[in-house]
């Protein structure tokens, strides 16, 4: 479980996040939604310690994530970037193996484990290809496999459906739900209504760096007619129609 306490973030004088409180419960799916620029990605980046200049705290169970070593953190929290950031000089299999080896896993074990994860994400056939030879969807599945290779309890995904067509988005949603069923908690940020709807669990709505609404669908919390309901029925346009684009 991850607990976020009064997390604020300022980058180059701009307030990105303001006193965000949120919880990623064990084994659940938490989605952060909101308009572009609302701070969703920054929030995930803070949880995963890509950004460390935040104030407030992020707790993993009862330990401050900042106090974990890089290796401990990597093995607890997996992160999939929007652009995947696979290592271009390594083939798919090595992309999945090297992080394990760096984290102290024996080569033979790392090899077997990498193949297992690639198989799980249906990309084992691509094991010998290089990232530039893969499509966007394939790259993303490899990136998820790479993150899973370190056996994290929590997997964070930044805009996972941004580069995917509807068909691939559907596959991704199924895949993430399946993954969640194996006990991995998932935290993702997205503005894709379809993706959020197909894995509805616990949703936070962010606006201008603040969490303005939260809804726990799995606990049967009813919609209050606010941002989240509007988002789920009309997409983002409705919530941001007060913006003036002239």
């Amino acid at each position: 479980m991850i607990t976020i306490n009064k997390l604020s973030l300022q980058l180059q004088g701009v307030q990105i996040l303001k006193e965000v409180n949120a919880i990623l419960p064990k084994g659940r799916i938490v989605a952060f939604i909101g308009a572009s620029g609302a701070g969703k990605t920054s929030l995930l980046n803070c949880i995963a310690q890509v950004y460390t200049q935040y104030t407030g705290s992020v707790f993993l169970h009862d330990q401050d994530v900042r106090q974990l070593s890089a290796k401990q953190r990597a093995q607890a929290i997996g992160f999939v970037f929007q652009q995947c950031h696979l290592f271009p000089h390594l083939n798919v299999l090595d992309n999945c193996m090297q992080p394990q080896v760096v984290n102290g896993v024996v080569l033979v074990v790392a090899h077997a484990h990498a193949l297992e994860k690639l198989e799980m994400l249906h990309v084992v056939d691509l094991a010998c290809l290089y990232p530039y030879q893969l499509s966007g969807g394939q790259q993303q599945r490899v990136a998820i496999a790479r993150a899973l290779c370190l056996r994290p309890q929590i997997l964070l995904l930044d805009e996972p459906s941004a580069a995917l067509d509807p068909q691939n988005t559907k596959i991704l949603a199924l895949l993430l739900c399946g993954l969640n069923a194996t006990g991995v908690a998932i935290g993702l940020c997205s503005h894709d209504v379809f993706l959020i709807k197909s894995m509805l669990d616990n949703v936070y709505y962010l606006d201008k760096g603040m969490i303005v609404e939260q809804c726990d669908f799995k606990r049967g919390q009813p919609l209050s007619g606010g941002y989240i309901e509007t988002f789920l029925t009309h997409g983002l346009e409705e919530n941001s129609k007060d913006l003036n684009y002239e």
Partner: protein, 222 residues
Amino acid sequence: MLIAKIFANIFQIWPLLLHGLLMTITVSFGALLIGIIGGILLGIAACQRFKSKLTLVISGYVLIIRGTPVYVQVLMVYYALPELFGINLSPTSAGIVALGCCSIAYVSEVIRGGINAVPIGQWQAAAILGYSSLQTLWYTIVPQVIKTVLPALINEIVAVLKDSSILSAIGLMELTKVAMNVSARTLDPIGAYAVITVMYFVLTSGITLIAKIIEKKLAVET
């Protein structure tokens, strides 16, 4: 008649020139060893990721070295250093030090540029996956940088090899100095200079050829 005379001369001066060639290779190798090792360290220290106060010092060093002729730097190391700090260097060591220090500046710029060209996402991805800074450098950054900096590094190797001819100014018996001496003694301006021209050309072309082969081996499209 003239051509026969030139060839007879070349036959005579050949051992001397070979000796000079050996000296040129030794000095260039020494200077490149300093230049490449020092340049890599300085380049890493000066890249955006590891920016610190040291970065400013390094850019100052690069500014000075790049802003002055190698010839002057060689004269400074050989003639001025003994006066300033009491460090007496033989022409060979002075040549290696001067060319090496000059090379450090150029190599560090090449390395710095190469490292900065690697997308920041690569650093972030490695950090997320539990790589330490050194592991990131070794496993992620270096393999990507090598390919991009190799042509510029080869340029530098060739430049140092050719610049070593400047060391004739401090009396080092390298290829150019030997040729100058020989041609003064034999009063033949063609033979010795023609031979060293070919020698330099063969050396640099050899390096370029080897580099091309390495480049081809490293080439994985990205």
